[in-house]
């Protein structure tokens, strides 16, 4: 039987890629001084840590401390997302090349790129001397970063719209503003709203982390308990965070689904 042979260029590509990947991993592992013994020993050490967390600290005092912190993370994430959504919405129109003039769109896009370049934690450093240690700092850091990411995503949605409705409005004598309100916004709103919710899910994880530098949220609690070697309580913090994120994710995902796919008609 004649089976066509794989072309030679394919084979060469395959072997180069494989060797690049293997070489890069070995080079990295050697540079980081990761030895076989450490890899073999790691599961045991992780097991010890997990074992130390159980039984979890379920005392009333622990929950009194942890639950408000967990909710603080939730509030930080939500408030940050709202700030991002409110400011990124008008900005995204300025950044879309099919709505704004070429120069304006290019400049706005560059500004959004510049904002996105700063990680949330670095932004939090900037806000710490202004707003002090606490949740407000984390909110602002998340908010500013979200303006960058949401602005970029939303402007891309606006750039991908169907021009038909705009033409229809123009031909019936609508102004440029009418075009935006009746042509662009109804088309982009579902996708943009779902991006807002998606950003909220990301921000929830980010806000949990911000506590590490004192910008509010549950991260502070976890790092403190780990530093004091209070592993049962650290486990409780971890479980509470996981539960909150799972619930928030599930709600947000179901709303996103409903927005994008529309109402499920029961037949």
């Amino acid at each position: 039987m004649n089976i066509p042979k794989q072309p030679l260029s394919h084979k060469i590509l395959k072997y180069t890629l494989t060797s690049v990947i293997i070489f890069a991993s070995l080079w990295s592992a050697a540079g980081l001084e990761i030895t076989i013994e450490r890899i073999i020993d790691a599961p045991r050490q992780i097991g010890i840590l997990v074992g130390a967390m159980f039984p979890l600290d379920t005392s009333q005092e622990a929950f009194d401390r942890i639950i408000p912190k967990v909710f603080e993370s939730l509030f930080i994430a939500w408030a940050g997302t709202v700030i991002g959504a409110i400011f990124s919405f008008p900005v995204s129109f300025l950044a879309a090349h099919n709505v704004a003039v070429g120069a304006v769109s290019r400049i706005t896009k560059q500004i959004l790129n510049a904002i996105r370049a700063f990680p949330e934690l670095i932004l939090a450093f900037v806000f710490l001397p202004i707003t002090g240690l606490g949740a407000f700092t984390g909110t602002l850091a998340l908010g500013i970063h979200s303006i960058g990411t949401l602005g970029k995503l939303s402007s891309e949605v606006i750039e991908g719209i169907d021009e038909g409705p705009l033409e229809a409005i123009k031909s019936s004598g609508g102004s440029k503003i009418n075009e935006l309100i009746f042509g662009v916004i109804p088309q982009v709103m579902p996708t943009i709203t779902s991006y807002w919710l998606y950003r909220f899910e990301i921000n929830l994880r980010a806000s949990a982390v911000l506590g590490v530098i004192g910008a509010g949220g549950v991260g502070q609690e976890l790092i403190n308990q780990l530093r004091f070697r209070d592993f049962p309580r650290a486990g409780t913090v971890l479980i509470c965070t996981i539960v909150l994120v799972l619930i928030a994710d599930a709600i947000s995902a179901s709303i996103r689904n409903r927005i994008i796919k529309g109402k499920v008609v029961k037949s």
Binding site: T131, G219, L222, L238
Partner: protein, 260 residues
């Protein structure tokens, strides 16, 4: 006059959801201590950070951060390769299209979701406690991080593959594993490569902050300089990382155009 059809009544999502969202927003702002007055009063304090931040000390950065930057890149390379390698088989088990067993599908899917709930820096904290301070903890943390993202992206891609080739393979009498290997895997390999590059980029970004909790990389330097408010030494690091990320982005755009 023409008959204009009545506007359908708004759904519950709108009538209940929007007022609830607004209330929740107000409540959140109140709870995080949103205070525009304090903010404007203390705005001058930003100089403590922003003045040095915009006066980068390049010479210091060149001399002192090279090793840590290389370490950051090494952490990202190793973690993204290992994480994605683990995620590849897991994603096939976590997809309805390739895993016919409802229960094991659910199990794998939940496992990936669980890993995804824990933020990257939490993993880093846990691993620094478990295996000690240093880049090894950072690698383990980012392995979990890339495993979770790749698992989600890839398993959803597998969910939406074209069932035609799989049916064809099945019709020739191949076993389930053979079907998956010959018909499902080749369909998602281009996506896998594209996701891998994306995850590598995310890992580079993430490995910058790992050092804050002692998990190696350039974040270690950021943390020590931050304590002394030497932001003039931090900003070159941010710029260098940014350049690296942009280069990777350009490279992955180029690759994606070729393979997708």
């Amino acid at each position: 006059m023409t008959n204009i059809p009545k506007k359908p009544p708004p759904s519950y999502l709108v009538t209940i959801g929007i007022p609830f969202a607004i209330l929740f927003t107000l409540f959140s702002f109140q709870r995080v201590g949103f205070n525009i007055q304090d903010f404007t009063e203390n705005l001058a304090n930003r100089a403590i950070v922003t003045d040095p931040l915009f006066n980068p000390k390049w010479s210091w950065a060149w001399e002192n951060t090279a090793d840590a930057l290389v370490e950051t890149v090494q952490i990202a390379i190793l973690a993204s390769i290992v994480g994605c390698a683990f995620a590849l088989p897991l994603s096939f088990y976590a997809s309805r299209a390739t895993n016919l067993n409802k229960y094991s599908y659910f199990l794998y899917k939940s496992f990936l979701n669980l890993v995804r709930t824990i933020p990257d820096l939490f993993w880093a904290m846990l691993f620094t406690v478990a295996v000690g301070i240093g880049p090894f903890a950072g690698v383990l943390a980012l392995i979990m991080f890339s495993l979770a993202i790749m698992g989600k992206l890839l398993s959803e891609t597998i969910d939406s593959i074209d069932p035609g080739p799989m049916e064809a393979a099945k019709a020739t009498g191949s076993t389930h594993n053979q079907t998956v290997f010959t018909s499902a895997l080749p369909q998602v390999l281009p996506n896998f490569t594209a996701y891998f590059l994306y995850i590598f980029e995310l890992c580079i970004r993430a490995s910058v902050i790992l050092g804050l909790v002692g998990a190696g990389g350039v974040g270690r330097i950021i943390e020590t300089q931050r304590i002394f408010l030497r932001f003039d030494r931090i900003s070159p690091i941010i710029v260098i990382i940014l350049v690296v990320v942009i280069l990777i982005e350009q490279f992955s755009v180029w690759i994606r155009k070729r393979i997708l």
